[in-house]
């Protein structure tokens, strides 16, 4: 049985005058996953997130959060924590007071929940200082803490590592993985950092110029075109044996590249060994998320 969908959009569109910022977007975020939301600058990511949280009214289409139409936003957003774009707080209040105020908007907060949230983002010790004295990285951490306070089932994070140093970015990645794995929180993560997304996300959606161009499990999307790299001695002899199995084989500096279905790989290896080729390594080629992203957005660009 497939996981229930916690965030869904259907035909979601937003036009600013003649500009189609988002155009007929259909997203489905299953419960329990870390869902990466990718797109170049100006592709409509933040506009989509704002529509998903009821900050922007769609021109057309609908949004469902936790199975509830966003028209009933108070109920739909009851189990949602969010951090949209750059962190925004009351600078004249302390970090703790900000959290108390924002948490009270959701409902009663368990005793110690604020301390726990502050500790989780490593802001304990500075929580009584005014936010105006915080660095950008500290504000980002505070934004994460406020997003965690409602004890959300869905966490929407828009560029959550902006302003963080490499150590901070690593901690946020680990936090995201922990929240999904240990607390079962679904995370909808928008980021420019493709390596970061590849490390933490189970599924991704890519939008370009407001349109969805790809959506699915990361493992599936990154599976290459079925090419297998074989490192071996005597590549020319190996190519003859490989062509007998796969039809096509390209000789490279240290072996072969063969277009082959996964189930045919043992047969290829057997053929190479039978031909007396010393096989050192067989690797199914996978694309990086960056290659995939540039590929799909480039294709889309060419099509327009």
């Amino acid at each position: 049985m497939s996981a229930p969908v916690v965030l869904a959009t259907a035909g979601l569109s937003k036009h600013f005058g003649r500009l189609r910022a988002v155009d007929g977007l259909d997203l489905a975020v299953p419960a329990g996953c870390v869902y990466g939301f990718l797109g170049p600058n100006g592709s409509g990511k933040t506009t989509t997130i704002r529509m998903a949280l009821g900050l922007i009214r769609p021109t057309a289409g609908r949004v469902e959060v936790m199975g509830r139409d966003l028209a009933h936003r108070a109920r739909a957003l009851a189990e949602v924590g969010a951090q949209v774009e750059s962190p925004a707080f009351y600078n004249y209040l302390s970090g703790r007071r900000n959290l108390e105020l924002l948490a009270a908007l959701t409902g009663p907060v368990a005793r110690g929940a604020i301390d726990a949230a502050l500790a989780r983002v490593r802001l304990d010790g500075r929580e009584r200082d005014k936010v105006r004295t915080y660095s950008q990285g500290m504000k980002t951490r505070l934004a994460l803490a406020q997003a965690l306070l409602p004890r959300p089932r869905l966490l929407v994070l828009d560029e959550p590592t902006n302003g963080l140093d490499p150590q901070g970015m690593k901690e946020v990645r680990e936090l995201i993985r922990d929240l999904a794995r240990d607390d079962g929180i679904t995370i909808f993560l928008s980021s420019h950092l493709l390596a970061e997304v590849q490390q933490v996300c189970d599924r991704v959606a890519v939008i370009h110029k407001g349109r969805l161009v790809a959506q699915g499990p990361v493992a599936e999307l990154l599976r290459g075109d079925g090419e297998v790299c074989v490192r071996c001695d005597e590549p020319e002899r190996a190519a003859v044996a490989a062509r007998a199995v796969a039809g096509e084989a390209t000789v490279t500096a240290d072996g072969l590249r063969v277009a082959l279905a996964e189930e045919a790989v043992p047969e290829l290896v057997a053929a190479l060994v039978a031909a007396g080729v010393r096989v050192r390594e067989v690797v199914r080629e996978r694309r990086t998320l960056e290659e995939f992203f540039l590929g799909v957005t480039g294709q889309q660009e060419a099509a327009l």
């Binding site: 704002r50 009821g54 900050l55 108070a74 009851a78």
Partner: protein, 287 residues
């Protein structure tokens, strides 16, 4: 709603501007008291052609009445700055988007802020009234109020302290309403501007423009003037009785003058509130 109001009130009083306005109003109250101490009661000058005044009419009630007339203009111009900030500042700093991602309806968020703006105006007027009353009583003592307006009309109506307090309460309530017309305009403009100062200053611009329009000797403007809220900003001065009811002998409350002004000012507040709410409910929060 109580939670929202509590939060809005807490945020309001952690900012600088509301306190600055209190400080300026308090300073003016002190200056009014000093003026009364140095120059005596205005009645002594205004009524000297009709009456021979014996004794000192100065007391806490007179100070309170003098303050309402003197300081009103400051409140009309400063309260909109604070009221406009309530929404505008949240838009400017981006905290509005943080608040609106919480499971609260926009109408509830808006209403809490609107009531906070109204509460601030009421508290500001009450502050001026109580400070002048207490300061005047401390400096000049306590006694009946010689109605300033009756004197200029050739009549002398002396209000006993209890009655005088009642009429002063009416005057300050009406002052709060006149101040909140500008305040509600600035607050409504906060739904349009994502800026802390623009709503307040735009409201001030409108206020001054309407005041100038109200003074222009244009014939066609005469029909419009009674409907300009700026032409009713002095309504709080008219609540003091200027005559006795010939049948009962009781003081006559000038309702025929006061109530139309109250109705018109209230209509303006409602119109500004509805416009502001309409915009806020539909606003795309993009900042």
């Amino acid at each position: 709603m109580i939670t929202l109001l509590r939060l809005e009130w807490a945020k309001l009083y952690r900012r600088f501007t509301p306190h600055l306005v209190y400080a300026l109003a308090g300073l003016l109250v002190l200056l009014v008291l000093l003026m009364l101490r140095e120059h005596g009661a205005p009645q002594a000058h205004a009524g000297r052609h009709n009456f021979e005044l014996v004794g000192d009419p100065r007391n806490g009630l007179l100070a309170c009445q003098t303050a309402v007339s003197t300081i009103a203009v400051l409140l009309w111009y400063l309260a909109p700055v604070v009221c406009g900030e309530i929404l505008g500042l949240e838009g400017a700093t981006g905290t509005l988007r943080t608040v609106l991602t919480r499971p609260r309806t926009r109408s509830a968020v808006w209403l809490a802020k609107f009531l906070t703006a109204a509460g601030y105006v009421v508290s500001l007027c009450a502050f001026v009234g109580l400070l002048s009353l207490a300061g005047g009583a401390a400096l000049f003592g306590w006694g009946p109020l010689n109605s300033m307006h009756a004197l200029t009309g050739g009549k002398l109506i002396v209000l006993a302290p209890g009655e005088a307090l009642r009429y002063l309460a009416y005057a300050y309530a009406l002052l709060a309403l006149t101040v909140f017309v500008g305040g509600s305009l600035a607050f409504a403009l906060g739904s349009w501007f994502d800026n802390a100062l623009a709503p307040g200053f735009t409201a001030l611009g409108i206020l001054v423009t309407l005041q100038i329009m109200g003074e222009l000797p244009l014939r066609w403007m005469e029909k419009v003037k009674p409907y300009l809220f700026t032409n009713h900003l002095l309504a709080y001065q008219k609540v003091f009785p200027t005559a006795f009811d010939p049948e009962t002998g009781a003081l006559h409350f000038p309702g025929e003058v006061v109530w139309p002004a109250v109705r018109l000012l209230a209509v303006y507040v409602v119109v500004f509130a509805v416009l502001g709410w309409w915009r806020f409910a539909r606003k795309d929060v993009t900042c």
